[in-house]
Every structure is written in C-alpha cells, then in structure tokens.
C-alpha cells in the first residue's frame, strides 16, 4: 500500500484554469508538505502543515492555496494557472520528531499549455 498517495499523477491544463492536487498519507504522521520540482530537478519547499495548522509558507504566489481538512490530507489548489507553474509537485509527510525523515509521494506532473 502506498504510504503517501497523490492524485492525479498527470495533469495537463490550459493557462488561466484552476486545478487541485490531492494528497493523502496513511502513516499516521502529523506533518505534511508540498514541494515543487522544476525541469532542472531542483526541489523546493512550498508549504508545511502540522496537524492542520500552517507552519511553513515559502514565497509562493497566493494563487497557490493549500488546504488540510484533517491531518492525513493536504490538498493543493492552484488558481489562474500560468506556464511557469509547469513542474512536478510532491507531497510528503513525517512524524513530529524533529529529525524524522520525510516520506514523499510519487508526484503530480503538471503541464500548463
């Protein structure tokens, strides 16, 4: 069973549209994250939630809005999509222990045309 699962795996859409990516973890972790990986494979943190509370909010355009309905889910909604939003988005989670490794999902490849 996949520990951190994201849907959809692929998402192709046009500029200006609004889309959502869903993430669920069944590891019982309290903390969840969204990372963005660009075409050069560079990984950068976007957001982190701890038990439904926003902890980390990097310099991400406010077109990106995370939503955590419960501690097992962290969804990412993106408004008014732009070409530069094309990337692979990874969800991750870990336990509250400070040095607990992150577990990543397999990513959602977003292509904006």
């Amino acid at each position: 069973d996949t520990a951190v699962s994201q849907t959809p795996k692929y998402l192709v859409t046009q500029m200006g549209n609004d889309k959502s990516i869903k993430c669920e973890q069944n590891l019982g972790h309290d903390t969840m994250y969204w990372y963005k990986q660009d075409s050069k494979k560079f990984l950068k943190i976007m957001f982190s939630y701890n038990n439904k509370e926003l902890i980390i909010n990097e310099t991400v355009p406010n077109r990106f809005s995370p939503k955590s309905p419960d501690k097992a889910h962290l969804n990412l909604h993106i408004n008014s999509l732009e070409l530069g939003d094309s990337a692979v988005y990874f969800c991750a989670s870990n336990s509250p222990n400070y040095n607990s490794p992150l577990h990543f999902g397999n990513g959602t490849r977003l292509t904006v045309t």
Binding site: V4, T31, Y33, K40, K41, F42, L43, K44, I45, S48, N50, E53, I55, I56, F90, A92, N94, P96, Y98, N99, S100, P101, L102, H103, F104, G105, N106, G107
Partner: protein, 114 residues
C-alpha cells in the same frame, strides 16, 4: 542558500565498484542532513541521515560522511548495483518547531554501467 545548477552533475560507475557523491551545504546552523534517492517517475526516497553531532554514519552498503568545517557531505555506495542508478540529493534541515524545512542540493545523476 539554495543551489541551482544549469546541468545536473553526473557520475558513471562500473557495476560492483564503489561510488562517492559529494554535496556542499550552505548553513552552518543546520543540524540534520539527509540523502535521498530519486528514480525516474518516482518521489525522493530516504536513504540515510546524519545529525551534526556525528561525522560518519553507516547503513547497508551506504555511508554518509559529514565535514562541518568545510560544510561538506558525501554519500558512499559500496558494491554498486544496477538498481542504484538514480538521481541522488543531499538536503539540510533549516527546520522550525513542528516541521522540517529541507533545502535540497541540485542532485547528482548516478549511472551504473553493467
């Protein structure tokens, strides 16, 4: 700081040989470091970690070395296998209470030649 490279560094190794992947980190205050492996079409997978109060840690076929003086991290993979072919990332934790804030290196593509 963050590293952004124009090209992903590559390393080719013969199967069965040992490989060493190097990484420079930026923040002297970082106290936790992790190596991740990313295979094509998958998310990063945890390999091994090390805390700043250690300079070496060993796992199964992998060893991580930490040199805080020069802010350098390395990953040694012994007796490489075809399944070791992947992109490897180091990461340092600039975390805060309740969450890790991982800053990733640019990644190194390791290719194991049969």
């Amino acid at each position: 700081g963050e590293s952004v490279g124009l090209h992903l560094p590559t390393l080719s190794v013969q199967e069965g040989d040992n490989s060493i992947i190097n990484c420079a980190y930026s923040n002297s205050a970082s106290d936790y470091f992790i190596w991740y492996k990313q295979e094509s079409g998958k998310g990063p997978q945890f390999i091994i970690d090390i805390r700043s109060n250690m300079d070496k840690r060993q796992g199964q076929r992998v060893t991580v070395l930490l040199n805080k003086t020069v802010k350098h991290l390395s990953l040694q993979i012994a007796a490489t296998q075809p399944g070791d072919s992947a992109v490897y990332f180091c990461a340092e934790n600039l975390g805060i209470q309740g969450a890790q804030k991982l800053v990733f290196g640019q990644g190194t593509r390791l290719t194991i030649n049969p």
